[in-house]
Amino acid sequence: MSEPENATTCETIRDALRMIIDPELGRNIVDLGLIYDVSVEDGRIAHVTMTTTTKGCPASVYLKEAVRNCVWYVPGVEYAEVRLTYEPAWTPDMMAG
C-alpha cells in the first residue's frame, strides 16, 4: 500500500472521528484537538493517539472505546489500536478555530 493511500485512509479516519462528540463540550473530538495522531500501515492497520480534556474524567473510557469502534468501521481498516495519553496534557489552545 502506497504512502498516498495510507494518507488518504488517515484522512478518512479523521473525518469518521468527527462523529464523536465530547459530552462535556458538545464539539467533535477532532476539532477539539483530542486526536493527537493518526497513522496507517499497509492501508489497513490504524494507530490513533488521543487524549481527553480532563485526566481521570469518567468519559475517558467511553471516548477511547468510541474511537476504537469508529476506526474499525472505516472501510479497509482491519485492525485499530488506540492509545490514550496525557503527555502532553490537552489545553484549550489545541482546539481548532
Binding site: 459530552p23 462535556e24 480532563t54 485526566k55 468519559a59 475517558s60
Partner: protein, 452 residues
C-alpha cells in the same frame, strides 16, 4: 485507565438527598423550627440535621464518590462500601431526627434514638471516609483540589465525633462536666465544622477542578488557591482548638472565634477572586446555566461570610446569626449543590445511556437532555426566594419567611422535575432518544453496566 469509572450509587445518594431537601423546605413552609421555634429548640435541631446531613451530606458524599477519582485521576477504592454507607446514613439520620422530636415531647419516639442515630451516622460516614481517604492516599503529591477534600474529611470526622458527644448528653447517657460544657458552648463550633469545614472545604476543592473543566479556564495552581487552603485550614484549626479548650475547661480560646472569622473572611475573599479570575480567563464563550447559577452561590458565600464577620450585621441576623446561616446554607451550599446537580445528573445520565454507543451511531449532546429556559426560571425564583427569606429573618418577619420558603420550595421542586426529565431522557428528540444498543437509565438505582 486512570479514574475512568462511573460511581454506581451516586445517583441514589442524589435522589435521597433531594428528598431530604424537599422534606426540609416543606417543614419550613409548614412553620416547623426556627423562626417559629428557638434556634436551640428540638424542632430546629431536627430541621437543621435533615438539611445538613440528609440533603447536603448525602449530596456531597455522592458527588465525592464520583469526583474524588477525577481529582486524583485514580479509581475509587473500596467502592463496594458505597451502598452500605448509604444504608447506614439514612436510618441513622431518621433515628437522630426521631430523637430530636422526642426531646420536643413527641410520642412514640425516645431520646435513646439520638445516640443510636449518631452511631449509625458515624458508621455510615466512616465507610464513606474509608473509600474517599483510601482513594486520596493512592496519589502523591496530592493535587491541591484534593487537599481541600482531605481537610473537609478531617472536619467531617471532628463534626461527627462532637455531634456524637452531644447525643450522649442529650439522651442522658453521659453526665460528665466536660461533655455537658461541650454541649452548652460547642454547638456553633459543631456547625462550623460541618457547614464550613466538611461541606464548604469539599465544595471549594471540587470547584477548583470542575470550574476550569466546564469553562475551559486555566487549571494551574495559583498562590491564591494555596492561600485559601491554608487560611481556611487555620480557621478550622482554631475551631478544633476551641472545642478542645471547652472539653478541658480552659479559657484560652475565648477570643479566638473572631480570629477564625477573620481568617474565614480572608479565605472567602481570596476564593471569590479566584472564581472571578477563572470566569474572566475562560475560553468557553457560552456560559452555561449551571455556571451562572454557581456564581450566584459564590456571591451568597461572599455576602454571608463578610456579614458574619461584621459585628453589626451579625447582631442583626437574629439568634445565632440565623439569617446569615440561612444565606450560607441555602444561598451558598444549596445553591451550588443544585447548580452542579443540574450539570452532573445529565452528564452521568449521558455517559450511562449514550457512552456505550458513542462512535457507532449519532447521539444527542448533554445539553439536549435539559431545558435551560425552564430551569433558568427556577434558578431565578430560587435565589430570589433565598434572598427574600434571608431578609425576612433579618426583619424578624416569620410570615414573610413562610411565603419566601414556599417560593423556594416551588423552585426546588421545579428543578427536581428537570432532573427527573433529564434521567428519563424526556427532552431528547425522539429519533435520537434511544439509539440501538443504548439502554434507558434507571431513575435513581445503579447504572446497569457498572464500569470497574
Amino acid at each position: 485507565m486512570p479514574g475512568a469509572t462511573l460511581s454506581p450509587w451516586t445517583m441514589s445518594y442524589f435522589a435521597a438527598a433531594c428528598l431530604f431537601l424537599i422534606a426540609g423546605e416543606s417543614a419550613m413552609v409548614g412553620g416547623y423550627g426556627y423562626p417559629f421555634a428557638a434556634v436551640e429548640a428540638p424542632a430546629t435541631l431536627a430541621l437543621v440535621h435533615v438539611v445538613a446531613i440528609g440533603w447536603l451530606g448525602l449530596l456531597m458524599t455522592g458527588a465525592l464518590l464520583q469526583f474524588v477519582p477525577v481529582l486524583v485521576a485514580a479509581p475509587l477504592r473500596a467502592g463496594r462500601l458505597a451502598l452500605p454507607a448509604l444504608a447506614l446514613l439514612i436510618p441513622g439520620l431518621l433515628l437522630l431526627v426521631g430523637g430530636f422530636t422526642a426531646l420536643g415531647g413527641a410520642q412514640g419516639v425516645s431520646t435513646a434514638m439520638l445516640p443510636s442515630g449518631a452511631l449509625l451516622l458515624a458508621m455510615g460516614f466512616g465507610l464513606a471516609i474509608i473509600m474517599l481517604a483510601a482513594t486520596l492516599l493512592t496519589v502523591r503529591p496530592l493535587p491541591l483540589p484534593a487537599r481541600f477534600v482531605a481537610v473537609g474529611l478531617g472536619a467531617l470526622i471532628a463534626a461527627v465525633l462532637v455531634g456524637g458527644a452531644f447525643t450522649l448528653v442529650l439522651s442522658g447517657t453521659v453526665t460528665n462536666y466536660a461533655a455537658i460544657a461541650l454541649l452548652l458552648k460547642g454547638v456553633p463550633l459543631h456547625a462550623a465544622l460541618g457547614l464550613a469545614g466538611w461541606l464548604t472545604f469539599s465544595a471549594i476543592g471540587v470547584s477548583y477542578r470542575l470550574l476550569p473543566m466546564f469553562m475551559l479556564a486555566p487549571d494551574d495552581t495559583r498562590p491564591t488557591n494555596r492561600a485559601v487552603l491554608w487560611t481556611g485550614a487555620a480557621a478550622l484549626a482554631i475551631v478544633v482548638a476551641g472545642i478542645v479548650s471547652i472539653a478541658v475547661d480552659s479559657d484560652g480560646m475565648e477570643e479566638a472565634g473572631s480570629v477564625a472569622a477573620l481568617l474565614a473572611v480572608f479565605a472567602a475573599l481570596l476564593y471569590s477572586a479566584d472564581v472571578l479570575r477563572l470566569f474572566r480567563e475562560r475560553r468557553r464563550k457560552i456560559v452555561e446555566l449551571n455556571i451562572r447559577a454557581s456564581y450566584a452561590a459564590f456571591a451568597a458565600l461572599f455576602a454571608s461570610v463578610v456579614m458574619f464577620a461584621l459585628p453589626a450585621t451579625r447582631a442583626a441576623a437574629g439568634e445565632g446569626a440565623a439569617a446569615l446561616v440561612y444565606l450560607f446554607v441555602f444561598g451558598w451550599l444549596t445553591g451550588l449543590g443544585l447548580a452542579q446537580l443540574y450539570k452532573i445528573v445529565p452528564f452521568l445520565t449521558w455517559l450511562e445511556c449514550y457512552g456505550p454507543v458513542l462512535g457507532r451511531t449519532a447521539v444527542p449532546s448533554i445539553q439536549d437532555l435539559v431545558e435551560d429556559k425552564r430551569a433558568s426560571l427556577w434558578f431565578f425564583v430560587y435565589y430570589l426566594a433565598v434572598i427574600a427569606a434571608t431578609f425576612s429573618l433579618f426583619a424578624e418577619c416569620p410570615g414573610a419567611f413562610r411565603v419566601a420558603t414556599l417560593a423556594q420550595l416551588c423552585a426546588t421542586v421545579g428543578l427536581m422535575v428537570e432532573l427527573v426529565r433529564a434521567r428519563t431522557l424526556s427532552s431528547v428528540a425522539a429519533p435520537l432518544r434511544l439509539p440501538a444498543g443504548a439502554s434507558r437509565p434507571h431513575l435513581f438505582l445503579p447504572i446497569s453496566r457498572p464500569q470497574e
